[in-house]
Symmetry: C2
């Protein structure tokens, strides 16, 4: 038996605000950060790694919350924890006093995501499988057992969920083989941050097309005149025929303003407008979607939980579901969202970027194609070329597609040197920066 | 000029789990707690007091978050802060890095509520007025300036909000005079906690009726057979003619289960079913409401922000809006919810109980009647007889009504001895309990 001896959580922050990487109309100065969890065991060769993602201040709050969330794991048998990933999740989630602070949202949910991401990483390492393979080796009933279907039975029962998964189970390996050759298609946001100059925008768009990308995303919502100029530059470079352009407002508009502003950008034929308004506004997204069609509506990186996504589907509010691997409470809740998306026919295009999100979502997208949706239509997963150097098993993108990860786990482990240098505020980088 | 010299936040916990006070189907063992904020100034006679309410574990997380939220106030002029309560709110809320942890929900929003509650308390003390009077002395335009109308313009514009308030402005003093005589009607939840025996339930129902209450609320959702037995006891005591019975499930059901369970309790003619399912499930509440009418649907104590309430109103999902004074980000956001409730014709019956919530909501209910709704129809504010002894200006209830508070501020100040004894884990009570 192997025993969990500690759940350590570290405040890791990268000084991305210095270069305006990641700048948009809402988040002007983020320092991409992680509340980084290490589940240590009495086997020095075996740990589980996970995190949630934040953009700087308040990362310490998530660290404290994750420590409290992870405490019940200490002293447990690793074998028992990974043999019942649904039970482990439900137990960590069941603390009724912590529930008051959400429920299922905000800091507490981010913290549960961080801890459960590390549990899933641990499970992959114990099995010697990358997370996508761990999931695609589970039967439909096993997958539904780990999924969090609570509050969802009005749209998805357990039997229905098993049925959805059973449809594709016999052909899973065919799709694994296919993706092993092609990878999973992705798009880049690296070109379009608001803080970049026009020349840099033009150059990055050209580089993206030259690298094989067929989807490029630009931030909008700062100034309409600038948005028009920047979208024109992007379309000049990528054209209208072979490449899709997406736009992302990061929640800066009220509903009427969103409808007006997106209308003014319609000539550039964006595939989707992302986060046009409050991420909580299901009915607002539905109203915007009706008004701006055929431009699609996308949201989800701030989608707080499965109950929000359920309603986004029920209200026909979105064309693209952009779930976030560090905001939903890990694979348990994410499976439930994928299942609902399948039922409602909405493609899932996970949010990524930040720090480590690309590492996580590549596993989820492969799982979706192999076991849930069986389709690549309308699906493309975000990719941002930041901060991968800090991970021991960084994602690999070739010709606009994620290469299937092969190392055991959830690709969530950071280099110890990176953690040490960027621990806030005591690591070498921050000690020097604040000196 | 008076200057803010510190924003101190203390982790105060009361051991309510020991007596099963506050027990319900979801929250079985709460220790009613407060992340308690004191805004200290260089005038030893002037401080502002506020808090958010939690039920135990994780209160330390709110404390940390409130410290971070309050930091920008230090060094500011008290006069400037209280002269621009809208600007102060927007500035504290505008931190884009902290926004990522919500936005506007969970721990971060509870923390903003705690700090802004203390700011409003401070404003009342500076003005020498109880909070309700501070508000009812503001013009319609001044009230709308402090309200947070962001993300709401699809249902309520600034001009419309001013218009709603202007209607009742000329007659405010008439309603102040009326409430000065009658108080504001309340109901009691003290009878109906799940953990109480049948004899205690019967006795407490009788005492409530004898004390002048015309509304009594029972917790349900643990076991249907027990619910039937307990509701029968309550109706035997209070009858069907002169008193209303409300039931509260504290979110334990999925939507179909809620419809079925409430149907099985319909013979007891509850006025409302409170929190039948996830507090995030707008469309679920709407479906339940359609199915269980004429029983009303109530929710709001976990209503995370104004965008959620906007949609509850748009979807015609609730008959009673139970906003929470420690979960919404203080008066700034609460005014917005009251204005929307007025527009949509939904009575607001604030959640109270916990620790200190009764002290806060009495001010809000008076403000609503005097300045916003001008109506008492369908309105009754929660009252629970716990923990008032820890406050320097405790609410007073007579004949089933809150007596208008008269002391300056938001009634949010605790006795220093209480704070000292129940500070967790170092105060005298906890040091002894854990020894």
């Amino acid at each position: 038996m192997t025993t969990i001896v500690s759940v350590d959580v570290t405040d890791v922050r990268f000084p991305t605000s210095a270069t305006m990487d990641g700048s948009d109309a809402m988040n002007k100065d983020g320092d991409y950060s992680a509340a980084y969890v290490v589940i240590r065991t009495d086997d020095p060769e075996l740990s589980g790694f996970g995190f949630t993602f934040t953009i700087g201040r308040g990362n310490d709050i998530c660290v404290l919350a994750a420590r409290l969330r992870g405490r019940p794991l200490v002293g447990r048998s690793v074998e028992e924890v990974v043999a019942d990933l649904g039970g482990t999740y439900r137990e960590l989630k069941s603390d009724s006093q912590l529930r008051w602070l959400g429920p299922d949202k905000g800091v507490e949910h981010l913290a549960l995501a961080a801890v459960m991401n590390a549990v899933w990483d641990l499970a992959g390492r114990v099995a010697g499988k990358p997370l996508w393979r761990l999931l695609t080796d589970m039967t439909p009933a096993e997958l539904v057992d780990v999924a969090d279907l609570s509050y969802l039975s009005d749209v998805l029962t357990r039997d229905e969920a098993i049925g959805l998964l059973a449809e594709l189970a016999p052909t899973r390996e065919r799709r694994v083989a296919e993706l092993s050759g092609t990878g999973y298609p992705c798009y880049t946001t690296s070109a379009g941050w608001l803080g970049y100059s026009d020349d840099k925008l033009r150059r990055l768009c050209q580089e993206a097309v030259d690298s094989g990308y067929r989807h490029i995303k630009l931030k909008v919502g700062g100034s309409l005149a600038e948005d028009v100029r920047r979208l024109r530059i992007a379309r000049e470079v990528i054209g209208y025929e072979d490449a899709q352009l997406m736009i992302d407002a990061n929640q800066v508009w009220d509903v009427p303003q969103a409808i007006e502003w997106v209308g003014a950008l319609a000539e550039f034929k964006p595939l989707w407008i992302e986060e046009p308004t409050s991420p909580d506004d299901i009915l607002g997204h539905a109203a915007i979607r009706r008004a701006v069609a055929p431009i699609g509506v996308a949201t989800g990186e701030h989608g707080m939980n499965r109950v929000l996504f359920k309603q986004m589907f029920q209200a026909e509010a979105i064309d693209f579901c952009q779930l976030d691997a560090a905001r939903l409470a890990s694979v348990n809740e994410i499976i439930a969202v994928y299942l609902m998306a399948k039922k409602f026919g909405v493609p899932v295009c996970p949010h990524a970027g930040g720090v480590g999100l690309c590492e996580l979502v590549q596993h989820l997208s492969v799982f979706d194609y192999v076991a849930v949706s069986g389709s690549l239509e309308g699906r493309v997963t975000e990719y941002v070329d930041h901060l991968h150097e800090h991970f021991t098993d960084p994602c690999v993108v070739r010709e606009g597609a994620y290469v299937l990860p092969s190392a055991p786990g959830y690709s969530a482990r950071m280099h110890e040197e990176s953690v040490a240098a960027y621990t806030y505020p005591t690591g070498a980088y921050w000690a020097a920066a604040t000196a």
